[in-house]
């Protein structure tokens, strides 16, 4: 039934978005294949996070189309929940629920959205917490966890709906440099398992080593994209060169 010409997991076609008179996204075209790790880099305010938020309808686009696993976000018959269970999202500020234990943070969506039983949801949550190396912290509350641990719980929470694609919105930007590693390690592991990932990141090392595709954005447009090697080592656009010379 889905006559997708390309086998894209996520595609953006001519996406436009403005906040008031400020045009945040100008005609964005992007295609992410299953298993791909797409890293979006660029200066602050270039529209990177907005791209992610358009994918799961946290932001409604003004024009163009976003397709996720065959579902079109502009299609009013596509329910929010059907879109969002396909898309896991990890936030810069973790956004864990402070009144719930790590375990309950992870079981909430499987129980409320998938209707799993408490036992099923807990089994799934414990296995995911184990995957991010925090099985023994299941009973801890967010305030009792370090930033890196909180973000790993948040990753487990986002994985709990078994999404088709994971969005990482500057997942390590709020962390002290010495603990970004533990979060990046989890992300590397997901990438190694061929999880489809779209990562807005300032971690150039991660983008270069783990990314299969790198997108450089500036001023609401994609300036340059391609395999990490070509973008990082042989950038074509002047703006890409200028940006990379500052951050590398």
């Amino acid at each position: 039934m889905t006559a997708e010409p390309r086998s894209a997991m996520v595609s953006l076609d001519g996406v436009r978005k403005s906040f008031g008179s400020h045009e945040v996204l100008k005609d964005i075209n992007l295609s992410v294949a299953p298993g791909e790790v797409c890293c979006i880099i660029g200066p602050s305010g270039s529209g990177k996070s907005t791209i992610l938020r358009c994918i799961n309808r946290l932001v409604r686009i003004d024009g163009g189309e976003v397709t996720v696993d065959g579902l079109r976000v502009t299609d009013p018959t596509v329910k929010d929940v059907d879109l969002r269970r396909r898309v896991g999202m990890v936030f810069q500020q973790f956004n864990l629920f402070p009144h719930m234990s790590a375990l309950r943070n992870v079981t909430l969506a499987p129980r409320k959205v998938l209707g799993l039983s408490a036992a099923e949801a807990e089994a799934r949550a414990l296995s995911l917490l184990g995957k991010v190396g925090l099985a023994e912290k299941a009973g801890s509350y967010p305030a009792q966890l370090s930033g890196g641990q909180q973000q790993r719980v948040a990753i487990a929470r986002a994985l709990a709906l078994e999404p088709k694609v994971m969005l990482f919105d500057e997942a390590t930007s709020a962390l002290d440099p010495e603990i970004t590693g533990e979060v990046l390690a989890v992300m590397r592991e997901l990438a190694a398992e061929h999880t489809t990932m779209i990562c807005v990141t300032h971690e150039m090392g991660f983008a270069r080593e783990v990314g299969t595709h790198v997108v450089f954005m500036d001023g609401g447009s994609i300036v340059e994209e391609g395999p990490p090697r070509s973008v990082f080592e042989n950038p074509q656009a002047e703006r890409t060169k200028a940006f990379l010379s500052k951050v590398l």
Binding site: N56, D80, V81, M89, F91, N95, F97, L108, K112, A158
Partner: protein, 213 residues
């Protein structure tokens, strides 16, 4: 001394009972109404919002005493008969509900936006986000302001004296009119009674806050 002891039974009996009844009933209206209106506003329906804002702004913008006069003396002229004590409860309750609604709304908006966003991104609906994520966190932040509102209600219940309800202040006033030497002892007693009602409210609030924290 004799006159004072003679005046005490009415004060501690009927007067205290009337003050407590009016206060507690008004608190319940303020609590239920406040949560009702505050939660309705969380649904962000423009029509509901407009009605709630109008209610809150009007009720908070008029003097409580004038509202009480209106309910007690104005409504009967419009064909809605109401006794003095119920009128005091209605006025205090409506006023309390308006203030309670602002407390609840304020607590809800004080929860960082990232919290509801995380819930939405997980596929939860608006009601589920409110019930499972935002409200449990907001609840604790309503305790202290509701405590302030409750003590304000107890204190304001003395306005009911002015529409003739025989609560603490009105009971004292009648006795003082008969015997001016009772001014100091009876008013001190009245003050002690108001404190005796309010202090447990304050203690309960602290305990509840700890429990929800």
């Amino acid at each position: 001394m004799n006159a004072y002891l003679h005046a005490l039974p009415a004060l501690l009996g009927r007067g205290l009972l009337a003050t407590v009844t009016i206060s507690v009933a008004s608190m319940l209206i303020a609590l239920v109404g406040g949560f009702g209106i505050g939660l309705l506003r969380a649904l962000r329906n423009p029509l509901v919002d407009a009605a709630a804002i109008a209610y809150v702004e009007i009720l908070r913008g008029i003097p409580l005493l004038v509202l009480m006069f209106f309910v007690c003396f104005g409504l009967p002229q419009l064909g809605i008969g109401i006794d003095a004590a119920p009128a005091a409860i209605v006025a205090l309750g409506l006023w309390g509900a308006a203030n309670g609604a602002e407390i609840v709304r304020g607590a809800l908006v004080s929860i960082p936006r990232g919290q509801s966003e995380a819930g939405v991104a997980l596929g939860l609906g608006r009601i589920a986000v409110l019930r499972s994520i935002v409200l449990p966190q907001a609840l604790r932040r309503t305790v202290a302001p509701f405590m302030s509102l409750f003590t304000a209600i107890v204190e304001s219940s003395s306005l009911a004296a002015l529409i003739g309800v025989k609560e603490i202040l009105e009971t004292v006033r009648v006795d003082i009119e008969n015997d001016a030497t009772l001014w100091t002892p009876l008013l001190l007693t009245a003050l002690a009674l108001y404190f005796a009602i309010n202090f447990p409210v304050s203690l309960a609030s602290q305990r509840l806050e700890r429990k929800l924290g």
